[in-house]
């Protein structure tokens, strides 16, 4: 599903990734762990096709990709429901499904609120609802539990577990709990490289 062969990505003289080999078979759940700034988000952006490697090759065979961005990336002028509905067809007919997804992440009461009227944790839940609603065969999650309050973490984690089953998952996190619950293989950042653990 995802093949990174000797991938290097550099901005000018500064290398963000060097010689990364990463192979994620279809249906596998892989986590990337490491400290902030080690390049986890960069790997996800390469997999999503948002970045091109400076050297090496990236091959991704996905019918549809869903990406829960670290910075939420919600349309500030659309409500929570409309943001989720955007990936469902963006029509009145698909709105009930968008509301169902918001209900699953505990955001039914805030469906009509604009992103600026939501807390960071609530925006993150809308972001996750949008990614899950997309029903892509490749799911990219960047720090999915970040900003969530402790009372929500468990329910969101079990939702991610159940909804990512059967899909290929690439997860960027520095949270051990997330890694243990969602991934069957982990690549940890060590000596400037991601290596299988």
């Amino acid at each position: 599903m995802i093949h990174f062969d000797n991938v290097t990505l550099a901005y000018g003289d500064k290398a963000v990734l060097t010689g990364l080999d990463l192979h994620v078979p279809p249906g596998a759940h892989v986590a990337l762990t490491g400290p902030s700034g080690c390049g986890k988000t960069t790997v996800l952006s390469l997999a999503a096709g948002l970045l091109r490697p400076t050297a090496g090759t990236v091959r991704v065979a996905a019918r549809r990709t869903a990406y829960a961005f670290q910075e939420h990336r919600l349309l500030p002028w659309r409500t929570a429901a409309e943001n989720v509905n955007l990936v469902l067809g963006d029509s009145q007919a698909t709105m009930p499904r968008a509301l169902e997804w918001l209900d699953l992440v505990g955001m039914a009461d805030a469906a009509e609120r604009l992103p600026h009227a939501l807390s960071g944790g609530m925006r993150q839940r809308v972001n996750l609802a949008r990614a899950l609603a997309c029903e892509g065969d490749l799911l990219l999650l960047d720090e999915p539990l970040k900003e969530l309050d402790p009372s929500r973490r468990d329910s969101i984690l079990s939702l991610l577990q159940s909804r990512s089953a059967g899909r290929t998952l690439l997860l960027a996190t520095h949270d051990r709990e997330e890694t243990g619950s969602l991934a069957d293989q982990t690549y940890a950042y060590h000596n400037g490289r991601f290596e299988p653990v």
């Binding site: 999503a48 096709g49 948002l50 549809r64 990709t65 869903a66 990406y67 961005f69 910075e71 990336r73 349309l75 500030p76 002028w77 659309r78 955007l86 990936v87 963006d90 604009l114 600026h116 009227a117 949008r130 997309c134």
Partner: protein, 255 residues
Amino acid sequence: MRRRGTTAKSLGALAFWLGVWALLSVLVARPLLLPAPWAVAERLIRLAGTASFWKITAVSLGRILLGAALGILAGIAVAAGTSRSQFLDTVLSPMLSVIRATPVASFILLMLIWVGRDILPCVIVFLMVLPVVWGNVSAGVAATDRQLLEMARVYRLSRWQTARRIYIPSVGPYLLSACHTSLGLAWKSGVAAEVLTMPALSIGRRLYESKLYMEMTDLFAWTAIVVLCSIALEKMFAALVRKLRRRRMLGGRGL
């Protein structure tokens, strides 16, 4: 309540300046130099009772609005093109700088040779409005959040969805600002073009003739018409913006 207070303040300011004008006209005591406000008001009422007044105002208004509308549409189209194509941007950008730097009088005299006097004010308004809209819309496109565009790419939103859901709300405030500036500019440049080219049915011609025959009351009355039309258009535009904001068709946080 707050709006009522603002209206009262505006009316108070208007009354103050009318008072200053009235006082000056009494002190000068020469209607040929400075007619009194009541004489101008009386002239306005008499003009409003004639059919030609409404015809002249409507034709001038139509001419200026047509030029402004075409300028806005062309500005949006050119901005869309130059934002997408580096080649188009390179080719057309010098033209933007030239149009911006050229005095409106030069355009009027040049265009007088090339196009008929009846449509010239319309062409001048078009040329004045186009670069304003082009520049602002281009700035709006450039300022569109790249992260949202990346999100649209990942989720494979169609071009239409990306335009409707991301570009239009992002560019909206820039376009509105350009339209607001353009309306004032359209009136000034349009009437100036009418004064210099004197189409048969035009406010500009009446202004020129008033000056020619030293009819200062007429000059003030026609100028008042221009100001009133401009204010009316601005109010109508503000109402349209409020309506669009209520329907959340424009971007901006919480709109």
